[in-house]
Symmetry: C2
Subunit: 189 residues, 2 copies
């Protein structure tokens, strides 16, 4: 990782992440190369390789920085309106999965991760685990307040997000806000 | 596809599918090549390419032939014990996801499909759509008999299988029979 205290390095890092996202959106994940990322970012290829081992690793960092909504855990509206909080959280996934720039990055990184155990572990540890931790705090608090069904809180979280991921990665069916509403209603009924 | 009426072609096809599965289990999806499949199956490489365009296409056919349990739609026990039918169906996924031979094939093919739209469409049309059709018939009948919650039947199906796929492909957490039981109980409660 570049030294954050070094403004030139920070600029290069930012240009590399942006270039990787753009190339993925324009040409598809499969066509992105470390060389093309370096060229687009106007840095040397060794600079890219100094900080990342693969294009998937670059794109994972790009996602973590740019994909704000769902990576930020469920927010607490401060109004105890848990249903509105959950809806906003699920809509974050829906909007991202339908974003023409972010969708190919997410699908590509998740696809590459199935063939690359190191990348899959990085997603679990750097994306999933912190998300899980933040979300569990919110869900357990809402369960204690009697606002959500008293099932295992990790299963509750899975039941909300898993159908969206299933449609994106497995069944290849549309993921829209109506679907998110239906998932939420079914889990809460 | 080889001519089923030609026993020699049928034997070659069977040897190719078996070789692909074995190589994937032994060396991982990424290391499988069309050449290695041909060598292991004792056929010429052009024979493999005549029937399949890629190793993923070979492995998808192998899965369709070997992965009997979940590809066969939900069975009807004939005893109106819908919960037992659903549990058996989910256990089919759990057992397959934990099978050391089949797990790398499923994860590999699903991963490759994220980077290969033609393969993803083949999975949707040749695996998901027929599964969906068969399962929907069973689920709708059980809903009409008042045995299952009266939510959208496609959402009902997604709610049951999606958490298992989510743990396999996204969160990278264990998928065991206890988890399947908890999913089923939460959906039915």
């Amino acid at each position: 990782m570049p030294d954050a205290a070094n403004p030139r390095a920070a600029r290069s890092r930012s240009a590399i992440l942006q270039a990787a996202i753009e190339l993925c959106a324009e040409h598809g994940f499969a066509a992105v190369t470390m060389e093309a990322i370096a060229t687009r970012a106007a840095v040397g290829k060794p600079t890219v390789y100094r900080w990342w081992r693969s294009k998937s690793a670059v794109l994972l960092d790009a996602l973590l920085e740019i994909w704000a909504a769902p990576v930020v855990p469920m927010t607490d509206s401060g109004e105890q309106d848990v249903v509105a909080d959950l809806r906003r959280w699920l809509y974050g996934f829906v909007d991202t999965f339908n974003d023409p720039t972010l969708r190919p990055v997410i699908v590509g990184v998740l696809g590459a991760a199935q063939l690359d155990p190191e990348l899959k572990a990085a997603i679990r540890e750097r994306v999933h685990a912190p998300l899980r931790a933040g979300n569990q705090t919110c869900l357990v608090a809402a369960q204690r307040a009697g606002l959500l069904p008293a099932i295992d809180p990790e299963l509750l979280e899975d039941s909300l997000v898993a159908p969206l991921w299933y449609r994106l990665l497995v069944s290849d069916e549309p993921v829209d806000r109506d679907y998110a509403d239906a998932v939420l209603a079914a889990v809460l009924h």
